[in-house]
Symmetry: C2
Subunit: 228 residues, 2 copies
């Protein structure tokens, strides 16, 4: 096994998996999908379908016990509603900088640590992580910033005895750039799920629905998942 | 809640908890104990007793699913035996530098990520971690080195939106120095458990038994856990 990819089942991580498969071949890639109590657990079904599409092995881990006491609106049992504004609009209200309400405490750090442990157990040498610049912008999701990726990468390198690297190929790209890359790689976007509400159909108005739609629009294509 | 402490139930983390209680008071400290499939799961019982001694709240998390495929000798189900040499002897055989067989893949990085997520959920501002210089020496445990602690600390700081710090108060001390500090703080060492074998009594010859004994001997005191 060469590489492990964090796969949520959304656009960014599916593109990241497409990258990994293109580089290493499907037999050398392990996808790691994590249930953390998210309302939109149906993204896990999407992740399964994406793995089946590529013929990639998938591991699913459950870390929901960690967030049992969190009231983040993304989580089942939260008393708070999900924001129906784009991240840009949410940031504007915070004066241009601040963490959005759907940030889950150190979630991506925890996921990357899981990936590191499993990668070492399986003999993989690299973790691929689909963080991109739009999610990092204004510290909306601080666990997507370049500063986080660099320091987490160094922690993984040092803490693994210099056996394992972290790469975030899209960390300087906007989401539209990620989609451009995925379209070139023919990523199966029709199988992906993003909406935080986790209903039968994407709500179209939560932060991630809005940003997904804008990224496809910027590439001049219809979102293939809307035509399923 | 001010601080969260990783508490295994051994000497180093018990000393770290003693530090935290001295600094913040028992009501402001949360101890995090993790089951990861270790053969010596009785250290968790020791950790419970240490928490009861201090009147500190404890959370126990189970991450054993991550290491289900690992053959590290520290883990239940491993086909490998635990080394009965000191870390110094093991390092000498590797030419002075190398990772010991009881290193569990990125274990401490994973534990610190758990601590970070839970700290943020509970509003704590600092994680205390009892890594010390003897465990880091020669990269025996790469997830105890200063380089790891610094980069993981930065990852936690950045990934939390600059809300949470990592401190490793013993990272430059040898284990004997940790014990000196704990003796001064009257840490309840009689309640702790270190031995990797997890038998009825400490085996006295595994790496951690040897290093524990040497640390008490260097302070000119008997190990109080041996007289229980």
């Amino acid at each position: 096994m060469e590489a492990i990819v964090l796969l949520s089942g959304g656009v960014d991580s599916t593109t990241c998996l497409a990258e990994a498969v293109a580089r290493f071949g499907p037999d050398q890639v392990l996808a790691l999908t994590i249930f953390y109590g998210q309302k939109h657990a149906k993204e896990i079904e999407a992740a399964k379908q994406v793995c089946a599409f590529y013929g990639v092995e998938q591991q699913i881990q459950d870390v929901s016990a960690v967030f049992a006491l969190s009231d983040c609106p993304l989580l089942e049992g939260s008393t708070q509603a999900i924001d129906h504004e784009s991240y840009g609009e949410q940031l504007e209200k915070m004066g241009g900088c601040g963490t959005v309400s759907t940030y889950v405490p150190f979630r991506n750090g925890l996921f990357l640590s899981y990936a590191a442990a499993i990668a070492l157990v399986r003999g993989a040498h690299v973790i691929l992580y689909g963080a991109h610049a739009d999610d990092a912008c204004g510290d909306a999701y601080p666990d997507c910033t370049i500063e986080f990726v660099q320091s987490m990468g160094k922690a993984i390198w040092e803490g693994s005895g210099k056996q394992l690297s972290l790469e975030a190929p899209f960390v300087q790209l906007p989401k539209a750039g990620v989609v451009a890359r995925g379209l070139a790689l023919k990523a199966p976007y029709e199988l992906t799920w993003s909406c935080y509400e986790g209903g039968d159909r994407p709500c179209g108005t939560c932060g991630t629905c809005r940003d997904r739609a804008a990224a496809f629009a910027a590439n001049g294509v219809a979102d293939p998942a809307l035509n399923r």
